[in-house]
């Protein structure tokens, strides 16, 4: 009786070990099985799912830069920076240029300016 119980315990340990060491389904097998599944669906009249079209590089860059608004903001900032820098090279004081430009804008709007 004790021996039978011991044998059962032994076998239990073997079974436990086997449960902890399951054969692993590798990626290649899973890919083959899935390909069969999709082919079976196609054979039943369901089209195989199409791969997502690749996103062009310029769209990826656009997304990174914040879309069209981001690119527009960067272009404006670039223009302002260029104008500012070139004005300084010509000996103009940028703040004077800016003041003249602002005065012209306000004047064209016919608004009082102090």
């Amino acid at each position: 009786m004790t021996k039978a119980k011991s044998d059962d315990t032994d076998l239990g340990l073997y079974f436990q070990a086997a449960q902890h060491q399951p054969p692993i389904a590798n990626e290649a097998l899973l890919a083959r099985v899935l390909a069969d599944a999709l082919a079976a669906q196609a054979a039943h009249g369901f089209p195989a799912p199409r791969a997502q079209p690749a996103v062009p590089l310029w769209r990826q860059l656009l997304a990174v830069l914040g879309g069209w608004q981001g690119v527009g903001g960067m272009a404006t900032a670039g223009q302002v920076g260029y104008g500012w820098g070139s004005a300084r090279l010509r000996g103009w004081m940028p703040w004077r240029c800016l003041r003249r430009r602002m005065a012209w804008i306000w004047g064209s709007l016919r608004l009082p300016m102090d």
Partner: protein, 198 residues
């Protein structure tokens, strides 16, 4: 209808199979991941050959894809049906060959275990697989399904196409034979230590 893959993993086998039959590619993926490992595990434990087991698992899954449009929900469990297909495919292959390459039994490592414990578990699992290959086909299938896969006797009876009493007899005889086959390896596999610790 296409559903997010995460939500599919919660669905029942029958529901997934119905979605698959309606052309849902996500259901195909979920069923592949759910059932291929089980089919492979049983085939490998019964056949003792990794490459043959992969062929059997793929063939069994192919039969599941074919039967899906005619599947009647509630009539049978998908897992039991699949085990039955795997068992029959294994029996066919075992009939075709008499010799078994014991060296081909895989020895995967469970990363959760420490190195020593893992090695011991690995050796015990390998010893069991080796001993299993000496059992008659039906006994081996019954023992693997009952004591490693954890199925119930009525489920095994359905899979093997026999009565519950026959399953009980097969597993009892199988266990006795395994006990005899493994008797001489107790010390080698650290079982004397395990017993003395208790």
């Amino acid at each position: 209808m296409q559903m997010p893959f995460d939500s599919l993993t919660e669905l029942s086998d029958d529901t997934l199979l119905a979605l698959f039959a309606n052309g849902d590619a996500g259901a195909a993926r979920a069923l592949t991941l759910r059932f291929t490992p089980r089919a492979l595990a049983h085939a490998q434990r019964v056949l003792g050959d990794a490459a043959e087991a992969e062929d059997v698992a793929q063939e069994a899954m192919m039969r599941l894809w074919r039967v899906a449009p005619e599947w009647r929900s509630g009539e049978a469990q998908v897992s039991t049906w699949l085990y039955r297909v795997v068992a029959n495919l294994c029996t066919d292959r075992l009939r075709k060959r008499r010799t078994v390459a014991i060296d081909s039994v895989p020895e995967p490592v469970d990363p959760r275990l420490s190195a020593d414990a893992s090695l011991q578990q690995q050796e015990r699992a390998a010893a069991l697989h080796e001993a299993l290959l000496h059992l008659p086909d039906r006994q081996r299938q019954a023992v693997v399904l009952r004591h490693i896969e954890g199925l119930t006797n009525p489920q095994i009876a359905t899979i093997l196409g026999v009565g519950v009493e026959a399953v009980e007899s097969l597993t009892a005889r199988g266990k006795r034979a395994l006990g005899r086959l493994l008797l001489g390896r107790r010390a080698e596999l650290g079982l004397d230590d395990d017993q003395s610790e208790k």
